[in-house]
């Protein structure tokens, strides 16, 4: 857990409201694993006040990347930063995905909804280098919500896409695409990140098929390093349930530990 007050922006790409930023931060890059995240200070002023969490999208030597969608003021201001400006970041934070090592030689499914694709690229790279074959399922509302598709294809990943409106790939939710594909292939593990309803559905599918799964959860974070008790989610522990800090013990949890929230009425 390192504070790097001057991580330099060394690259920036954008598609509509999606941004990919490469940050030079050797010590943080060095320690990063897939599924971990960083906390970014948006500016030195009083508003917005809190840092914002972003998954580590990739690492390459001294640099890491984040991939984000503009969701409000913080991400909007962040998207306006340019190459050669610096950012104050903390990282790497959280546990990361857990099972990479055991998956050598196996096939796995990575499912990303919208900006939920962010941590999966790093995971796919690591899985590849540890000898596992990833199939990536990438869903968005419409074609423009799949900005990383080409990048991922260029990297040679096996990728299937879905859009809610059918403007590209499978028409429907990515959870439905996965469900359909699971008739034909049985991954050793499913990794997913995206909106909770999507993850909840995938969790159901995985349980039905008895496929182990891991999910990366989100929550409003006050600190990112265990000091505020703000980011808790209900998690099964032993016989009961506990409110667990997802910045410390997560954000990634195995399917069987997650207590999904009730759909609201």
């Amino acid at each position: 857990m390192i504070k790097d007050p001057r991580a330099r922006i060394v690259g920036k790409e954008s598609w509509r409201d999606y941004f990919l930023m490469r940050l030079e931060s050797p010590r943080i890059a060095d320690r990063s694993r897939p599924g971990q995240f960083i906390m970014v200070r948006i500016n030195a002023h009083h508003h917005p006040l809190l840092r914002r969490p972003f998954s580590i999208h990739s690492k390459n030597g001294k640099t890491i990347e984040i991939f984000f969608q503009v969701a409000g003021l913080g991400t909007d201001l962040l998207s306006q930063k340019n190459t050669d400006e610096t950012l104050d970041i903390l990282g790497p934070l959280g546990n990361g995905f857990k099972a990479e090592a055991e998956l050598k030689g196996k096939a796995v499914a990575l499912v990303g909804g919208g900006r939920g694709i962010a941590p999966l690229y790093f995971l796919a790279q690591e899985l590849r280098s540890s000898g596992a074959a990833s199939r990536i399922f990438y869903g968005g509302k419409t074609r423009a919500d799949l900005p990383l598709r080409e990048n991922l294809e260029k990297q040679g990943f096996d990728i299937s896409c879905s859009t809610d409106d059918g403007s590209f790939g499978f028409k429907g939710f990515v959870s439905d695409l996965l469900k359909a594909e699971l008739k034909k292939f049985t991954p050793a593990r499913i990794f997913a990140c995206g909106p909770e309803p999507m993850m909840k559905k995938i969790s159901g599918t995985a349980r039905q098929k008895s496929i182990p799964a891991e999910f990366s959860l989100e929550s409003v974070m006050g600190c990112g390093f265990g000091a505020c008790w703000g980011c808790v989610k209900r998690i099964k522990r032993g016989d009961g349930e506990e409110l667990v800090k997802i910045c410390e013990e997560g954000p990634v949890f195995p399917a069987e530990e997650i207590v999904w929230e009730e759909e609201e009425g």
Binding site: M1, H46, C223, C228, L243
Partner: protein
């Protein structure tokens, strides 16, 4: 070198900067970022007698220049605290203050009774002002009588100095401070958070599961500072000021307004090195202004 130490009477701090309860974990969370020995002190997360889960999520919502929280005082209870945490933090050469909570006056008493037998605690901060536990933010610090009663009870039990932490959600903060003083409190700390609401206009639900939460951060600084000034100029015991301190200059405002020391809260989330930086900035200010002893600044506001 400026002498940054401040003497609270019952304890001398190496500098006036204390990390505030609930924003500094049990101290250990900050070991990766700062040397805890540098601090004037730190207050650990509020402790009830038994472990507690706290409120349902979502617990946080950001506001303009501020943070609304309804954490609801989750914690490990006094036993685990004494066994697992205290041995690891008491080795630091800094004032360790325990923030004491209770569902009832008796519980405040039992927490203090239990901890009184353990070594390594410099003082208790009696948290009678958390807005996130009972409905509508009710807590003893809203009434002079309840404040007097809670402080008196704990005063009898405690062998250690007692700091009473006040709520800003009152008409007359001085009245409450005077009750705490009369009941034997050794110091007053203020302010806890302001009872607040944020609404998600898409879902028409409150942003926090608890509906109301407590507002902290720079947004509250001017109100907190006014209260510290009102209290400090009228009580005989030291006042520890807080509310929205992000920088050395904010801490200076509180000292000049009469606080003998300050607590730094939300800033720890924004910058885990905030306390250290603020100490450096206090030092820089004193040097620039030719001030030898920071204590000479305290209460020096020229009204």
């Amino acid at each position: 070198m400026t002498d940054l130490s401040v003497d609270l009477g019952f304890i001398k701090l190496k500098n006036p900067v204390i990390a505030a309860s609930g924003t500094f974990g049990y101290g250990l969370e900050f070991e990766p970022f700062i040397d805890l020995n540098l601090l004037g002190g730190f207050v650990v997360k509020g402790l009830y007698f038994s472990p507690r889960e706290g409120n349902a999520p979502p617990r946080l919502a950001e506001a303009s220049s501020g943070l609304i929280n309804a954490i609801g005082l989750p914690g490990i209870g006094v036993e685990r605290f004494s066994e697992e945490v205290l041995p690891r933090i008491r080795k630091y050469d800094t004032a360790i203050i325990v923030n004491v909570c209770g569902e009832s006056e008796e519980e405040y008493g039992s927490v203090v009774e239990f901890l009184d037998k353990k070594e390594g605690i410099s003082a208790y901060e009696l948290n009678i002002s958390c807005p996130n536990v009972k409905k509508d933010g009710l807590c003893p610090a809203l009434s002079p009588e309840a404040t007097f009663s809670a402080v008196s009870l704990v005063r009898k039990i405690s062998s250690r100095p007692l700091i009473t932490k006040l709520s800003p959600n009152v008409t007359d903060i001085l009245e409450i401070a005077l009750s705490a003083q009369e009941a034997g409190s050794d110091a007053i700390s203020l302010v806890n958070t302001f009872l607040a609401l944020a609404v998600d206009t898409e879902t028409r639900r409150p942003k926090l599961a608890n509906v109301y939460g407590g507002l902290s951060g720079p947004a509250i600084k001017p109100i907190a500072l006014r209260m510290v000034h009102q209290v400090a100029s009228r009580v005989n015991i030291p006042v520890i000021g807080m509310g929205g301190i992000l920088e050395g200059n904010d801490a200076l405002e509180f000292l000049i307004a009469g606080a003998k020391a300050v607590e730094v809260g939300t800033a720890n989330f924004v910058d885990p090195e905030a306390t250290k930086r603020i100490i450096d900035e206090l030092n820089g200010y004193c040097q620039k202004m030719g001030i030898d002893r920071i204590e000479t600044l305290i209460g020096s506001l020229r009204t």
